[in-house]
């Protein structure tokens, strides 16, 4: 959802190119003085959306139905962007925009495509254009109430449905295996683990487990500079050692940047260690191949209030008081049994943490 699919990039360039051309085309038409700014704004946005659709035809030639739909949609948008003085312009534009938006949602829900930045940007353009088309203009008689109702109810609802559908589809069916975990990018590795990689992973696990076992006593961890972060009412907490983070030790079993503790009624129970790289985008060594793939949390909304996180919306917004950040790559080593994902999984199985709490 936050990537640009290679076969969609051309659409973005076409849309950007269309912006100045649409502005010039409108400037050259004397009829522009007869219509309000909202109509002109919608025309420009529809021209951009049309250009994006037409641009995508070139990379979808092997999908005839999709290419035909892009062609029809693109041509219709361009024609309507030019015909803003036409009597039926508003109803035709609103119908086309709504049909395109809903059609796309059905398309991705059915699994024919995965949402990416070009698609979401186009949907934003179309939603904005639809809003501008629906704004009643001065002196217009009749249908004003209907327009206001559409603007106040239908447009917010359509925006909500669009955002929710894109988000659900992306979480349920990530565009690639590297984004299989929500909010995290997995390191690219070979697919099938080799015996050497298996042995290296086992060695890393054994060394790390032996090195962090003394930290089963959380007081020792505190004495050695580890400090808990995040809310204590969560099932588990990361305890970070800022000195080790700053020093930039790379996958040193004796100096892991973080420790993960389960927050149980008996106090913190050690679950594992966390290695962290110093810079965003700099993945660490990967001795175990796919077994020890690092992950980088991306597009997460972080708030200093309680050190809590949420995920950025498809429209690239975070809740008020939180900011969009990415964290440098990290690798967990779980020293407790983690049946769902194994000893190097991105997350610990919630059931494991609950069972520890029940002990």
């Amino acid at each position: 959802m936050f990537n640009i699919a290679t076969d969609h990039a051309i659409g973005l360039y076409a849309g950007l190119l269309a912006l100045p051309l649409a502005l010039i085309a409108i400037r050259l038409r004397p009829a522009r003085r007869l219509v309000p700014g909202t109509v002109l704004g919608a025309s420009v946005l529809m021209a951009m959306s049309g250009a994006i659709h037409l641009g995508l035809i070139t990379t979808h030639r092997d999908e005839p139905i999709t290419a035909l739909l892009f062609l029809l949609n693109g041509v219709a948008y361009i024609l309507l962007s030019l015909a803003f003085t036409w009597r039926w312009w508003r109803s035709a534009s609103a119908s086309l925009l709504a049909a395109t938006l809903l059609g796309y949602l059905v398309y991705i829900a059915a699994g024919f495509d995965s949402p990416d930045q070009v698609a979401v940007a186009t949907k934003l353009l179309e939603l904005t254009a639809l809003g501008l088309v629906l704004v009643p203009v001065r002196g217009e008689l009749g249908r004003r109430m209907w327009r206001w109702a559409s603007l106040a109810v239908a447009l917010p609802l359509l925006t909500l449905v669009t955002g929710s559908t894109v988000w659900i589809v992306d979480l349920a069916r990530p565009a690639d295996a590297q984004h299989a975990h929500a909010g995290a990018l997995l390191q690219a590795t070979n697919e099938v683990v080799t015996p050497e990689q298996e042995a290296a992973a086992a060695q890393l696990y054994a060394e790390t487990k032996a090195a962090i076992l003394p930290y089963q006593d959380s007081r020792k961890a505190f004495a050695d500079g580890y400090r808990p972060g995040g809310p204590s009412n969560m099932p588990s907490s990361h305890w970070m050692n800022q000195a080790y983070v700053d020093a930039g030790y790379v996958m040193d079993p004796h100096r892991p940047q973080g420790l993960v503790y389960a927050n149980t009624k008996h106090g913190p129970v050690l679950l594992g260690a966390m290695f962290q790289m110093k810079r965003i985008g700099q993945f660490g060594p990967d001795p175990g191949g796919p077994l020890t793939a690092w992950h980088q949390h991306e597009n997460i909304c972080f708030t200093p209030f309680g050190f809590e996180f949420s995920l950025m919306t498809p429209f690239a917004n975070c809740p008020l008081g939180s900011i969009d950040i990415s964290a440098p790559p990290m690798l967990h080593v779980w020293i407790v049994d983690n049946p769902k994902g194994g000893p190097f999984a991105v997350d610990i199985d919630e059931g494991v943490v609950k069972s520890i709490d029940r002990l």
Binding site: G306, P314, F315, A316, P319, L320, D324
Partner: protein
């Protein structure tokens, strides 16, 4: 109006995390929903040509723009994709440009 809807979605997006135990996210989600409501009311004020609403919108959009620009410039890994640029930079600029009307038009 558009910005109000985007903030409303951001506010709603915090609720599942609040339900999972992140209590502060509940507060941030509600604050975002209140901001969305306030932005919607400002939009209505602008339509009614209230100069105070226009001033508030200017202040809000400039704050959003400056804040988003800072986030993009600071190396914290903020999203630089086209959607982020559209909603966080282009939209506030567009609103400010569209509201650059003669002062006399507002009461």
């Amino acid at each position: 109006m558009m910005q109000s809807m985007l903030w409303a979605i951001a506010g709603l997006s915090a609720i599942p995390f609040a339900l999972a135990g992140e209590v502060f996210m509940l507060g941030l989600g509600l604050a975002s929903l209140l901001l969305a409501l306030a932005t919607c009311l400002l939009a209505i004020g602008v339509l009614w040509r209230r100069s105070r609403a226009r001033r508030w919108v200017f202040a809000l959009e400039i704050t959003c723009f400056v804040g988003s620009l800072l986030l993009l410039l600071v190396p914290i890994g903020a999203n630089h994709g086209p959607v982020s640029l559209m909603t966080n930079l282009a939209l506030p600029i567009a609103v400010v440009l569209l509201l650059r009307k003669p002062r006399e038009a507002y009461s």
